[in-house]
């Protein structure tokens, strides 16, 4: 088993990693990049805690080999805010206090971000369906769903400031 050098973009910055074939993307992010916003939950694809965006698509980083990410574009929760300004999804989660322990917050936000990229005005049913693979054990989901719906409204407001009142 040999290390291989790969090149990728992480939160907008070029990176060179030297990884073994059996290293998981999640562990490289947390242990080598010290980006601990992405969480380890179940390790088998059932909880969604390790969700990030890989080439724009919501992806489970605990079931992704780091070595397979040569040339990839990776976005984690740490890369979501732009120029010191929170993303609309982050702002909405903050305003709704859509967390208690906070463990699922980054995956819920990354998932909400992915949903809004596909569908700028989702219905409540669409939000609940899209987040079906992300477990929260404290909030009961109500505030998370409200925050996701409000994030869509907030983003629309930011895009058309004149419509804000």
């Amino acid at each position: 088993m040999h290390k291989k050098t790969i090149h990728l973009t992480l939160n907008g910055e070029a990176r060179e990693w030297s990884v073994y074939p059996n290293e998981l993307l999640l562990n490289v992010l947390r242990e080598q990049e010290y980006l601990t916003g992405t969480k380890y939950g179940c390790g088998i694809g059932e909880c969604g805690a390790c969700t990030l965006h890989l080439d724009g698509a919501p992806t489970l980083s605990c079931l992704t080999l780091a070595i397979a990410c040569d040339g990839a574009d990776i976005l984690t929760i740490e890369g979501l805010a732009r120029d010191g300004k929170l993303d609309a999804t982050q702002q909405a989660f903050l305003e709704h206090s859509a967390f208690q322990c906070g463990f699922c917050t980054s995956d819920m936000i990354m998932m909400t971000r992915a949903l809004l990229n596909e569908n700028a005005q989702p219905s409540e049913a669409q939000v609940r369906d899209y987040l079906r693979g992300n477990l929260c054990r404290c909030t009961g989901y109500a505030s998370i769903v409200r925050a996701a719906l409000d994030a869509a409204a907030l983003e629309k407001q930011r895009a058309e400031p004149s419509a804000a009142s």
């Binding site: 074939p21 059996n22 070595i67 397979a68 992300n134």
Partner: protein
């Protein structure tokens, strides 16, 4: 007990990322049983973490373009590494009759675990994993789908029905790759439906059923019924199908055929459901799928 660390992958292996089908089959010819292809990885990496599979060579198919995409050319041909999400989007937006009758496969893709898994997992991976609980297999069985298996030197095509051998075991030889899934042109006046029962939306099925009906006026010209999570492999309910053909459709007939199909299956009791529950619910969902498919043929 097997070790079940899911945080890191202990097992060591060599990683190969071929870019052509020839290279991929050449690697399989070279490494045989000690190699395992990886597509989305959502099954294989879990099995490797649990140390249920320990391939010395992992061959990624992610960069083999010939395995991706969907083409309509007489048959509907689906590349093995097409993601469930891409397949779902194709089936729900682009199909005209008679291929619009493949509704059940769209429904199976839509209910396929989570959005993340739908993005990562592939149709070929779902079939090669050969889980009795595969969501994609029952609809494909009702469409008489065929699979193309390719080695470095040979290519063969077989009915999907013959592809599944046992849980986790398929007809693939160690040097073969599943490259395409072909769905023949469906008959006119046909329609399909898929119903899955699971504890929560993102869970693996306790039972699932797919049916396809072809009508001729008020008569059932042809019928297909397939079920998942009720036997060692996804299965057809052939006797129930035969009892439908040539009959006038009615709710009472759907009820009777649901019960008939439930007699044909061999479910087990496991962590997801008991044998008795599976038998009971199979009758119910076959009935409901028949009613739904028939309504769609109108």
């Amino acid at each position: 007990m097997l070790p079940t660390n899911t945080h890191i992958l202990f097992h060591e292996f060599d990683y190969h990322a071929p870019t052509t089908l020839y290279e991929a089959t050449e690697l399989l010819a070279q490494y045989g049983d000690s190699a395992r292809p990886i597509a989305g990885g959502t099954d294989l990496l879990v099995q490797m973490k649990m140390e249920r599979r320990q391939p010395a060579h992992v061959i990624s198919l992610a960069r083999v373009n010939a395995l991706q995409g969907i083409a309509l050319n007489g048959d509907l041909t689906i590349g093995a590494t097409t993601s469930i999400r891409d397949l779902h989007q194709y089936l729900t937006s682009k199909l005209q009759p008679p291929f619009a009758s493949l509704q059940s496969l769209g429904e199976a893709c839509n209910g396929f675990s989570t959005i993340q898994i739908m993005r990562m997992a592939t149709l070929g991976g779902n079939l090669c994993n050969a889980s009795p609980a595969s969501d994609s297999a029952p609809p494909l069985l009702t469409f008489d789908a065929r699979v193309t298996l390719k080695s470095k030197t040979f290519e063969r095509v077989m009915a999907l029905e013959h592809f599944f051998i046992a849980p986790g075991k398929t007809a693939l030889q160690a040097d073969e790759l599943l490259t395409h899934i072909r769905i023949p042109r469906p008959p006119h006046q046909s329609a399909s439906a898929f119903i899955k029962i699971a504890r929560v939306a993102a869970d693996i099925s306790q039972v699932c059923a797919a049916v396809r009906l072809t009508r001729d006026g008020n008569l059932i010209h042809d019928a297909r019924i397939a079920l998942g999570s009720v036997a060692p492999t996804p299965v057809r309910a052939a006797a129930a199908e035969r009892e439908l053909i040539g009959q006038t459709f009615s709710a009472a007939l759907a009820e009777k055929i649901g019960k008939r199909a439930a007699q044909e299956i061999q479910p087990i009791s496991d962590i997801r459901a008991t044998r008795a529950y599976r038998q009971h619910i199979a009758a119910v969902i076959v009935r409901d799928a028949l009613l739904r498919a028939w309504e769609r043929t109108q």
